[in-house]
Each structure stands twice: as structure tokens, then as C-alpha cells.
Symmetry: C2
């Protein structure tokens, strides 16, 4: 059974009545153009796209509420859309319906300098917010790679390279405005740094992937830009040495801002792509934030730990240009990987395990990759125990996809056996639903109860996360 068949089983409501009402509400901001629909049904992953029946470009929370009310009346699915940069088919309109595009909702509603928080509409992107904050001395740290919308980042519980220091969207969303499945406008959380008032609805919506409601506004934590930043890079004779350096660093409480692992395949890719000459060995990239003295102390401590664990030539970069070159290479890892095998299709996936099992998990996975004859560089947010693969697949050779699926299934089963999770930051979408079940068992039944209590007609991004 193909994905399309398995997901198009439930009867689809006729979208025409909802579309007619939405056209009356939105005029030209309701599009049924094929190109627009196609673009809104396919994310940047390898997952098959499913275009919605129409795309509604909303401009306010109130308008989103009106749109959802119309859809609810006609039991027409609603699929929230930010920038379309998700990775597990989150935006595919598996059962048709209306893509609610919030990318025009880009107002930054308030910045509270003294409280280190801000309020934004859901369509503001992380780069857009940081651009706006540039002269304030503040920044928003979460960086999943893509310039995603903050609403989408909350919906998918995004994180990225500096989660080891600043946390993920889970820790950095103080509150939300959400339009529920019946079109109510609800504010969750607040501006207080902590609260023990009521169920944590904010955290319930963070990571709910549009299946419980549409996020339209966010209250976010901000941070002061550190006085000093430095970076370092260090190659290791083996992967265990690199991972043990990270374990020791974290145990010592060194408040490292980023620790990224690139395997020797990825280092080769980066050298080729970015014309660099790093040793093609397992390598750690570090970034330190703090005072001048603080970052120096951090770098010295980590340098000593690296040396103890087979790290050679710990290079410390305090100059902005050197740091930029280093991190640009890391940021370009995906493109570098793809360039290793021109014409290939990239299938990105991730798992996250307790850090004590990380080296073992990566090495067993690398062995599987080697045995399968595939090429799949590895990069990892190693401070969190999270790593990514990109399978580089020949689109003309369908056996490669099957092999990747096999390696992937084994990797996820391995991660779960180690007490890990089937995805550290990519989410479930429709790509990892069977793994969610394997990971959470009976808890998935609870998730389904919560889903149905908040969306009894199952119109919010149906067919994702939990089977309904």
C-alpha cells in the first residue's frame, strides 16, 4: 500500500462549500492555482507532496479564526503553513483541505528589553526576528538551519545547533495565541518566567505539528548577545574520543554554546564543497559564549579534555572571519553532502539518544551504511545526543531507497533500545508515525485522547502524528 493510498482512506469532504465561503472572506487571498497548491503541499523532505484544495493567506489571528470556523462548519481539513521547511511531510494535505498560510503575519508586536522577551506573529522567521533585534543587544538563539517561521518552529518543537546551551522551542516559548479546531482564539502561558497556574497548554501546543490548532502568535524568550564569542575545531583519531570529549565537557558543566560532530564522510564533503583542508576525521566544532575571560577559560578546558581523548590540533578561532568560515562550513553541510554525489536525492533523518550511547549508536549505524553500499554523511548536535544522516540516493535506482529504509528502520530501533527517541528535532509528520508508536506505546493512546478532545471532528492536519 502506498503512502497515498494509506492516507487517503477516510472519506474526503467536498471542499467546494468551504472554498466558496473562504473566497467571499478573503478574495484574492484564497488561491486555488495549481502552482500555489503544489508548493504548499510539499516540504523540503523526500516525502511525497499532497497539494491542498486551496491556500488561504491569512493576515491576522482573527482572520485565521474565521477561516477555521468556516472549515469546521464544513468539516474541511486545515493544514497550517509557515515556510514549508519541515522534514517529515508535515504540510502535506493528505486528505485535501485548506492550507492556512501565515507567512504574511510578520508583525513583531513587542520587544521587552528588560524582561528579555518578545511577542511576534507566527509568520516572522527566526532570521527576520534577529535582524529586527540587531541593535537591541538581544537575540533569539534557536537555529534549526532553515530560516523557518517561528510558528512552524514552535509547531515542530525545533531546535538546532545551540540547543545544548539555550534549549529548544520547548524551553523558549513562554506563551502562544492559538486558534482551536472550532475557531476559538486562546492565549496560553504568559510573560512570567515561570508559573504553576494550570495545565501547561503552551508545551502541549509546542510540538503538536498543527494537529491541535493553528499557532498565530508567540511570546518568546530572548537572550543578551554575549560579550565574547569564540569558536574552535578539533579532529579526533576516532569517534569515541570525540564523543567522550563531549561527555566530559558537559559533566564538567562547561556552558558550551554549540558542540557539533561531523564524521569523516561529512568532513570530506565540506572540504570539497567549501574548498577547505580540514583533516578528514571525526571532528568537533565548538562555540563558546561568555565574557572574554570566560570563553578563554572554556576553550582551554575543552582543549585539554580533547587532548586527553585523542583530539589533535585544537584550533581556537576568536576572529569573526575565522569563526564565520568555520560555521559556514557546518551550515552548508547538507549542500556539501549532496555535492558528494551530484544528482542525488537527499533523505534527511535524525534520532537522539542518551549521550553515553551516542558513539555506539553512530558506529553501528555507520557499519549498516557501509554494508548497504549507501553514502550517508553524519552530522550531530552531539551535546544533546542528537545526530542526523543524509542518505544520498540515486533517484533512478529504487533499490537504494529500500536499502535506506532498512538502514533507517534499524537505526531507529537501535536508538529506541538505547532509551532514545525516533526524532530529536525533525518531528513525526506522516513520515514517522509507526516509530512514534514503537517509542511511546500506550502513551500514544493518551495522545489520541487529547487530540480528539480538542479536535473531535479531526480537521486539524489530519493523518499526522497519531492515527485518527
Amino acid at each position: 500500500m502506498s503512502v497515498a493510498e494509506s492516507h487517503s482512506e477516510p472519506p474526503r469532504a467536498d471542499p467546494a462549500p468551504a472554498i466558496a465561503e473562504l473566497q467571499a472572506l478573503l478574495g484574492e487571498r484564497l488561491s486555488t492555482a495549481e502552482a500555489v497548491r503544489e508548493q504548499h503541499g510539499k516540504d523540503v523532505s523526500y516525502h511525497e507532496g499532497f497539494p491542498p484544495d486551496a491556500v488561504a493567506f491569512a493576515e491576522s489571528t482573527e482572520e485565521v479564526a474565521e477561516i477555521v470556523k468556516i472549515c469546521a462548519r464544513h468539516k474541511t481539513p486545515v493544514i497550517p503553513f509557515g515556510t514549508g521547511t519541515s522534514l517529515e511531510g508535515h504540510i502535506a494535505a493528505l486528505r485535501g483541505g485548506i492550507s492556512v498560510d501565515v507567512s504574511r503575519m510578520t508583525a513583531i508586536l513587542e520587544v521587552n528589553q528588560e524582561d528579555l522577551d518578545c511577542r511576534v506573529q507566527a509568520g516572522v522567521t527566526r532570521k527576520g526576528l534577529n535582524e529586527y533585534l540587531r541593535d537591541s543587544g538581544l537575540f533569539f538563539p534557536i537555529d534549526p538551519g532553515a530560516d523557518a517561521s517561528l510558528g512552524g518552529m514552535a509547531a515542530t518543537r525545533a531546535s538546532g545547533t545551540n540547543a545544548v546551551r539555550y534549549g529548544t522551542m520547548r524551553e523558549n516559548v513562554l506563551g502562544l495565541t492559538v486558534v482551536t479546531a472550532d475557531g476559538r482564539i486562546v492565549r496560553t502561558g504568559g510573560r512570567a518566567r515561570k508559573s504553576s497556574a494550570g495545565y501547561d497548554l503552551t508545551r502541549l501546543f509546542v510540538g503538536s505539528e498543527g494537529t491541535l490548532g493553528v499557532i498565530t502568535e508567540l511570546q518568546l524568550r530572548l537572550y543578551g548577545i554575549p560579550e565574547a564569542t569564540s569558536a574552535a575545531v578539533c579532529a579526533f583519531t576516532d569517534l569515541e574520543g570525540a564523543v567522550n570529549t563531549v561527555i566530559a565537557t558537559i559533566q564538567l558543566g562547561v556552558p558550551v554554546a554549540r558542540i557539533e560532530l561531523l564524521d569523516e564522510v561529512q568532513m570530506r564533503a565540506c572540504n570539497l564543497y567549501s574548498k577547505l583542508d580540514f583533516p578528514e576525521q571525526p571532528t568537533l566544532f565548538f562555540e563558546f559564549h561568555g565574557t572574554e575571560a570566560g570563553v578563554q577559560e572554556q576553550a582551554e578546558t575543552v582543549g585539554a579534555l580533547a587532548a586527553e581523548h585523542g583530539g589533535a590540533n585544537f584550533q581556537w578561532a576568536t576572529r569573526q572571519e575565522d569563526r564565520s568560515q568555520l560555521w559556514q562550513a557546518r551550515h552548508d553541510a547538507y549542500w556539501a553532502a549532496k555535492a558528494l554525489k551530484p544528482g542525488s536525492e537527499g533523505w534527511a533523518t535524525d534520532v537522539c539518544v542518551p549521550i553515553s550511547r551516542l558513539a555506539e549508536c553512530i558506529l553501528a549505524t555507520k557499519k549498516d551504511i557501509l554494508d548497504s553500499g549507501l553514502l550517508a554523511p553524519i552530522v550531530g548536535h552531539v551535546g544533546d545526543g542528537n545526530f542526523h544522516l543524509v542518505y544520498l540516493l540515486d533517484p533512478d535506482d529504487p533499490t537504494q531507497h529500500d536499502k535506506a529504509e532498512e538502514v533507517n528502520d534499524r537505526m531507529i530501533a537501535r536508538a529506541l533500545r538505547m532509551g532514545g527517541t525516533c526524532t530529536g528535532e525533525h518531528g513525526i509528520g506522516y513520515g514517522k508515525m509507526q516509530f512514534l508508536q514503537a517509542e511511546h506505546g500506550e502513551a500514544v493512546a493518551l495522545m489520541r485522547q487529547v487530540k480528539l478532545s480538542l479536535d473531535p471532528d479531526n480537521i486539524m492536519n489530519p493523518g499526522k502524528m497519531v492515527r485518527t
Copy 2:
């Protein structure tokens, strides 16, 4: 209408059939002794106690599941009990039923040194855990004052003095084992540092105050004991100066472990109680964690900021004895306050506001206290914008209670107007339900939907948190 009347309205199920079955299951570990029931229905707050019909002393997750299944079959309320140190009447059996006491579930199931996590049964207390960890170089930081059970701390989303650095239970619970209202055993979360797999059920149960299920096990984050710790104390000419020092400290990103504010009334109480001679002015207590050089740098930075804001005589204590004396005075604040007015009843309450509004909120509240003729010292976890009052009430003068209620209502309304919350860390219980409604409005309707989806017969700690 008294609290008792308003909460005893719904028909109470006859507890006898459930008690008979529980007796068969538990033997002597099911108690109906009056003293035991009284003790289990009254927490340490001023709220009226309501004894349960019986107390079940559980020894395992499976046993809790059996107990809940029996109660579910007879629609008999279940009230989870840890140490009884909650502050908003959380454990009162408003509608009778069975208190499920997990205090004998004290196994520490695993400590993962490399991953900085552990798994414990819900009856382990925070001091018990730290005692166990003593020689491991690790510690669990959350310290709400009382030696509460970790299950209860999760259920009430506890925090305390060092939340400013280490977060609250929200940030430090990685996963839970929960017995649901129908007696299923569900594991939420996991050991991975982050995950984007499914709804965040862990965070849903953290802070749910026993109204969604019984927490029986917890996976918790641990931290390395810092290489160096130092403390400091500094008196300010006015409260604004103290608060502005804190704002500047946090904006600069100084990773301070604790910043506590004591007002001049509380300082007088501490001096009297602990035989100290601190200036009786608004005072900040600090604690710094880090490397030797790091804590020195932090203390110097904060000392300079304090001096800029009217702080005099910044005293820095690196010796363990001096630190202990300082923090003992802070820890004894409640008893010191009560000793200010011997024979008084203490009514503790808390709010939390954005830190930019903290000085204003405290000053307006102090004016209300003064105008009312009450005595109510203030202490604050000021790095989070959270502060506590203890109204010292004459039990023989009922007008004092009414006055305190009035001051309290005004304080909470003020905190909400400022974007704050009606409780930073004490919770809702049955003491603050009307304020939850004022704070969260429509979101409370969502909370109720979630509650009823997971507990349709409303047996889990009924009458608390949301009206059902």
C-alpha cells in the same frame, strides 16, 4: 458559602465498596484511622483540611494501578499524596475518596552518571536523592524549601531558589510513569535530552496536581556539582535599586545560581530569629556556581552592578561556613517571619511578574499591607520575578483574614495586569481556582476539555485546578 459547602456539592459515591476491595488488596496498608486520614487531608497551608475516607500506602507502580482500577470501578475519588507539603490545599479530599500515599516508594532505580540523569520512584524526596548522590559528584538542584517528594514536586511544578539558573520541574523532568484515571500504566518522555516525537505529555502531567493521573516514577536531569560556589549579600537603599541590579545581572547573562530578595521586614525577622546583624533594608542574597575564576568574575560583575544601583557593602562569602550561615537565614525565613508575631497563623502566597514590573508590584503590595495594618514579610526569587508573602494573622481576629484576602486579591489582580501569573510555584489546588480563570480565560475551557478526556468520570483529585 463556605469552601466546604461549595466543594461538597456533587454527590459523593459511597466509599465502602472501594474500601472493602482495597483492604483485600493491601491489608494493613489501607488505613481508615482518623489520625492518618486527618494528616492526609491537610497540607501545610492555612487551607481547611478535608480527610479522605481511607489512605492507601502503595509500594509499586503496579499496586497504584490496581488501587486506581478499584477506585475507577466504584467512581471513588483518588487523591495522590507525597509528603503533604503543598500550599494550596492540593491534598484535601474535598469529595472524600482514597488518598494514595506514595511516600513508601523510595527506590532510586538508576543513576546514569555519563548522561546526567536518574530514575526514581515518586516517593523519593529531593533531600533523599541528593543524599544518595553525595559521592557521585552530581546533584538535583530544584529546592522548593520543604523536603518534598519528587512526585509531588513534579505534580505541582515546583521550583525555588535556584530556578533562575537550573529551571523548574518543567525543565528538569525528562519523563514520567503515570497511572491514568482508568488504571493504565503509561510512560511519557524518555531519556533523550530532546525529542520532537509526539505531544509533550510529560509537561502536561508536570503541574497537573494529581488531576490527570498519579505520578509513580520520574526520570530527572542531574547536574555536576560546580567546582566552586560562592555567595554574597548586599543591602540596598531602596527596593528599586535591588530589582534593577537583578535586571542588569540577567541582561548581562551572568549565570547566577540564586538571587533572593528579602524586604526590610523580613530582614528584621531574620536578624531576630537567627541572631544576625544585617542592615534592615531591602537585601539581595546571591549564589554563584562555576569555576574558581568564573565565580570570582561573576561576583565582581554583580558587585559593580549593585554599587551602581545603591547597593552598599557587597559582602562576598566563599567559605562554606559563611555561605551556610547566609543561606540558613534565607531558608529559615518562614519561621523567622512567624516568630515576628508569636502565636500567629502564617498564610503564604506567591505571584510572579515580568521582572521589569517587579519593583512596582512589590511596592504597591507593601503599601496595601501597610494600609491594612497587617504584617507580611516579603521574600522573592527575584531572578524569576517571583515573590512570596507570608501574612501573619491573629487566629483570634477573623477580620485579619478578611483583610489579608483583600490585599491578596488586589495583589493577584495587579500581577495579572502586569502580564504575570497568579502563582509562580505554589500552584492552584482549591485555593486559587478563581484566579486561574481570571488569568487564563478561554484557555481554562481547553484545560477542562483535556481533563475530561483523560478522566471522564472525574475521579482524579476532583474539585481542584478546574471546575468539573
